[in-house]
């Protein structure tokens, strides 16, 4: 269980690829620099899609935590 404080949780469990990534991109677009976003995704594709986009967009992947049937991706808006 992560203890990192987040500013917004995006519960994308049950959404098919690329829904969780698209929801994250939308949140980063609207968010402020420094804010942390938590994406909950049960989609396998997110495990590669989300880190790949975060790297390309020069955002910060704080951590990925496997949970019961889904993963929690914590991303900080770095710029």
């Amino acid at each position: 269980m992560s203890t990192i404080q987040v500013d917004k949780t995006i519960d994308a469990r049950g959404m098919a690829c690329p829904g969780p990534l698209m929801a994250l991109i939308g949140a980063i677009r609207q968010g402020q620099v420094g804010e942390r976003f938590e994406v909950l995704s049960s989609d396998e594709g997110s495990k590669t899609d989300i880190p790949a986009w975060v790297a390309k967009a020069k955002q910060e992947l704080v951590e990925v935590v496997p949970d019961d049937g889904y993963s929690r991706f914590i991303v900080r808006k770095a710029r």
Partner: protein, 378 residues
């Protein structure tokens, strides 16, 4: 006294539900459609207007002609919904009380949210598509860039279809070798759906269309003629075509019926508002994470109509619910197309592009007026 069913929006979804509920109620309910223009527009045709393959006049008909005679049409703009007092306020000052309400108001495009975005063309309105075609007719050489400035947007395959039809158009004019076409995709593939992307990416390469992935358009510099992404990349253009950001209609936002972008939260199977009784929503209007397309509105309409009819009769909700069904065509140019079909439980599948799918799409577009609005195509 007949129960009052009010439907906001005379697009594909609202029109089908109006006709089906009026038919199913057999006089026990009075159905009213409220539409701001009274003109029914077949939006999938905008793409063809933009490349000169369709006339705007072929894409619109008076909404009155598409509704059963026992459905009332009010040409006015809904400005506020009171879900507690169960009435709709109209711009003219009139109010409409309702027993059951369907929100089928669709989406609106807001290019003004993109800094510098007004310099870009788009094919998401009739006027925009017409202007884009004029600009293409005047275009002789240089770089045409197509990008996406916000998710979700209507008709996810449209940017890919547009570049294929643009390629055909430029070849037809004999200037393809003088024009670079660049497609900027929000994802690291051509299109949201992976299976379909695998199918179309080799065709993009074969036609000489350059694909750049993970490019979510953030701003435009109209003077320097560049477009910059959220990811920090900048691309130069001579002619820019953007898919504008979308949001729900103002009446939804002003009535606090939706989320921060004006999308209405509904149960993904019953299409019933998650917070308010006696309100349903379909099509682009909802926040269901599924394609915003006429196809979705079409398939959802029969479910919403059955739900509303059952509620009017005080019956249990119908067993048949919306299963996430989507079926759409994707033009791949040179007279060919493919299809994309999926639902909540089945991932998308697309057959190899073929002429028959192009003709099926053309046939559907032509026969739409006589089948879909009336609810004749299940």
């Amino acid at each position: 006294m007949a129960a009052e069913v009010v439907i906001l929006g005379g697009g594909v979804g609202g029109t089908i539900v109006a006709n089906l509920v009026a038919k199913q109620s057999a006089g026990r309910a009075h159905v009213t459609v409220v539409d701001a223009t009274g003109i029914h527009v077949y939006q999938p045709g905008f793409l063809y207007v933009a490349v000169g393959q369709e006339k705007p006049s072929a894409l619109q008909r008076p909404e009155r002609q598409l509704l059963r005679h026992d459905v009332s049409l009010v040409v006015d703009r809904a400005t506020r919904v009171d879900p507690v007092g169960r009435q709709v306020q109209l711009e003219s000052g009139a109010t409409l009380p309702y027993d059951q309400l369907l929100l089928a108001t669709g989406s609106r495009t807001v290019m003004s949210e993109v800094p510098g975005g007004v310099a870009a063309h788009d094919f998401y309105t009739m006027a925009g598509a017409g202007r884009l075609f004029k600009a293409l007719e005047a275009f002789q050489e240089g770089t045409i860039v197509i990008g996406v400035a916000g998710i979700p947007y209507k008709c996810p395959p449209a940017p890919v279809e547009f570049v294929f039809l643009l390629d055909d158009y430029l070849r037809g004019r004999g200037i393809r070798d003088k024009v670079q076409i660049k497609l900027l995709s929000p994802l690291n593939r051509a299109f949201t759906i992976e299976a379909t992307s695998k199918l179309v990416q080799p065709i993009l390469a074969e036609r000489g269309i350059e694909l750049t992935g993970f490019f979510n358009v953030e701003s435009v510099d109209p003077v320097g003629r560049t477009v910059t992404s959220l990811e920090g990349e900048t691309v130069s253009y001579d002619l820019l075509v953007l898919v504008p950001p979308h949001r729900g209609q103002k009446v939804i936002e002003d009535s606090s019926l939706g989320d921060e972008r004006g999308w209405v939260p509904v149960d993904k199977n019953t299409l019933k508002h998650t917070k308010f009784e006696r309100i349903w929503a379909i099509g682009d209007t909802t926040s269901i994470p599924i394609s915003k397309s006429g196809s979705v509105a079409h398939y959802e309409a029969s479910v919403a109509a059955a739900e509303i009819s059952a509620a009017l009769n005080g019956e249990a909700p119908p067993a048949h619910v919306y299963d996430g069904k989507v079926m759409c065509f994707l033009e791949t140019g040179q007279g060919q197309a493919t299809t994309i079909r999926f639902d909540y439980d089945h991932p998308p599948v697309s057959p190899s592009p073929a002429r028959r799918w192009h003709w099926a799409k053309a046939l559907f577009n032509k026969t739409y007026w006589h089948t879909v609005p009336q609810g004749r195509l299940p």
